[in-house]
């Protein structure tokens, strides 16, 4: 009799993050850990598929010991022109998934929340925004093979 291979229905790491309500509006915030050498910061960031790169508040860079000199300058576009920001490559952990990503630091772009953009991040996960249930579902792509 031939053996039937049953595919696992649920991936081992499926993260569910409910939207967080601030001042009457809901935001898809996810918990993550940033680390560089011996320093670690656990914080939250807004998951934004419309952002091409991730931008965090500059205080996080200071907490991680990243000096201005260690950040590579780049210019980001905005409606009012361009803004120069410093970018550094640092380790990011979401749940059990860990990887290095380029993160920019700017108060102008991360005025309300830290922002997680597509570059270096969205290709690590399958991400589903469910506006009805106000939930983000994330599955590490390495778990979907």
């Amino acid at each position: 009799m031939p053996t039937v291979r049953v595919k696992r229905q649920t991936p081992p790491n499926l993260y569910q993050f409910p939207y967080v309500k601030f001042h009457g509006k809901f935001y898809p915030l996810i918990p993550l850990t940033l680390s560089r050498e011996a320093r670690t910061v656990n914080t939250f960031a807004l998951l934004d598929s419309g952002a091409s790169i991730s931008v965090f508040r500059p205080e996080i860079a200071e907490a991680l010991g990243i000096t201005r000199k260690e950040r590579t300058g780049t210019r980001l576009g905005s409606a009012g022109g361009g803004v120069d920001i410093g970018i550094a490559k640092i380790r990011v952990e979401v749940g059990k998934t860990s990887f290095k990503a380029k993160i920019g630091f700017s108060k102008a772009f991360a005025a309300s929340f830290n922002i997680v953009g597509r570059e270096g991040f969205f290709h690590k996960f399958s991400i589903c925004f469910n506006e009805m249930s106000r939930t983000v579902l994330m599955v590490p792509l390495e778990d979907l093979d």
Binding site: G77, S78, E119
Partner: protein, 77 residues
């Protein structure tokens, strides 16, 4: 499905955190410890000296004004 403790804590306490708008908040979901301040580095230093936990979370609570600013998604030029 993994619904993480820190996310649950933030959802449950977001309303209460609104009074710290514009400030940094340090919290430990497992102990319920919360501290707030204008300076993130000072908050982290005080957490290290009081040894509240080995895994505190920090979060900048946005003010209503910050949330009302026109949001511009960071895009490479």
């Amino acid at each position: 499905m993994d619904m993480r403790q820190e996310t649950r804590w933030l959802c449950e306490n977001a309303r209460a955190l609104e009074r710290f708008s514009g400030k940094w908040v340090l919290f430990c979901p497992d102990t319920g410890f919360v501290n707030k301040g204008a300076s993130l580095s000072r908050l982290l230093r005080s957490a290290a000296t009081t040894q509240v936990t080995d895994r505190p979370f920090v979060f900048h609570v946005p003010s209503k004004r910050e949330l009302s600013l026109a949001y511009l998604a960071p895009r490479r030029r």
